[in-house]
Amino acid sequence: MVQPFVSKDFSKEEKILLLRELGYGSDGVFVLKGNERHKDKYTGEDVKVNNMVIYPGSLTIVNNDEISIANLLEEYGDNVE
């Protein structure tokens, strides 16, 4: 089971550092992959640093909203704690 790391006390800067360690970046608002804004694979929306979920495996970074979460659980369901 993949456990949640709920980062309520993380600053935006710390999240950007984490993104860098994972091979992504940020312009301060959105998650970047290379020079492009990274898209939520379920909704096609740009993913915001302050509202992101990072799920491992093939590293899925999506927005923390009802539709993306519903899709994430449908894809990874039993592995998400």
Binding site: V2, F5, S7, K12, E14, L18, E21, L32, E66, E74
Partner: protein, 235 residues
């Protein structure tokens, strides 16, 4: 400004000088890559979504329906239903309905309404009464969802009852569905009753109409009419 500087600008590299921060971030990234952890700011949405997916109703729906999109829309419908009891009912439901419609079009929104309004359990009861096999029930439900716009009408409080009555009659005459559902909630229930009366006057020879209501704290909050096509006896 180069692309690299845009990426680097939001934070100062000084932050890495903070005691242990770099090590903590690297360790967190390692655990994510290693599939031990996933990262998020706020777990309220995922907690609620998991609760809905563990509920008996979702499990039962999943027993019959394997289609991922239908299951996602069903779960979103249960989320909409959960918002009915929240403090921000209007805002939450309006926002989520708009995003469902944007992502999954009107048909997708109607499948979520189907879940929100509790129609699945009523449809299932309706199908159980027809002595079908499990596979036939699953097929009927799947077909029903694929054709939902021809088989269900959702009534809203601002609807004109005469126009909606005509819309129901037109849909039924065009598609002759075995089952047609007229569904309403709260302030739309009176209009729904008027529509049912108008439809009944025109179609009572061909359809049996059964009324279902759903209560919350002894107050009726949902009103649903099932129209089942009568079996021709050949007399």
């Amino acid at each position: 400004m180069s692309n690299e500087s845009i990426i680097d600008n939001p934070i100062s590299n000084d932050i890495y000088k903070e005691s242990g921060l770099r090590e903590r971030i690297i360790e967190l990234a390692r655990k994510i890559k290693n599939k031990d952890l996933y990262f998020l700011d706020d777990d309220s949405i995922i907690k609620e979504a998991k609760k809905k997916r563990k509920a008996g109703e979702f499990k039962l729906f999943s027993d019959y329906i394997g289609d991922n999109k239908f299951r996602i829309l069903y779960q979103l419908g249960l989320t909409l239903r959960g918002y009915e009891k929240g403090d921000q009912y209007q805002e939450d439901t309006k926002r989520l309905r708009e995003t469902i419609k944007k992502q999954y079009k009107v048909q997708g929104l109607h499948i979520s309404y189907f879940a929100q309004n509790g129609l699945f359990s009523e449809l299932l009861k309706n199908l159980w009464g027809k002595e079908l096999t499990e596979a036939e029930i699953a097929s009927e439900i799947g077909d029903f969802l694929k054709e939902i716009d021809n088989k269900v009408i959702f009534i809203y409080r601002d609807d004109d009852s005469k126009a909606k009555t005509q819309e129901v009659l037109t849909k039924i005459r065009a598609h002759s569905p075995e089952t047609f559902i007229i569904s309403s909630m709260k302030s739309a229930m009176d209009i729904c009753k008027e529509i049912k009366e108008g439809v009944s006057e025109q179609l009572s020879k061909d359809y049996d109409i059964t009324e279902y209501s759903i209560d919350d704290n002894q107050k009726e909050i949902k009103l649903i009419y099932f129209l089942n096509r009568k079996i021709k006896t050949g007399d």
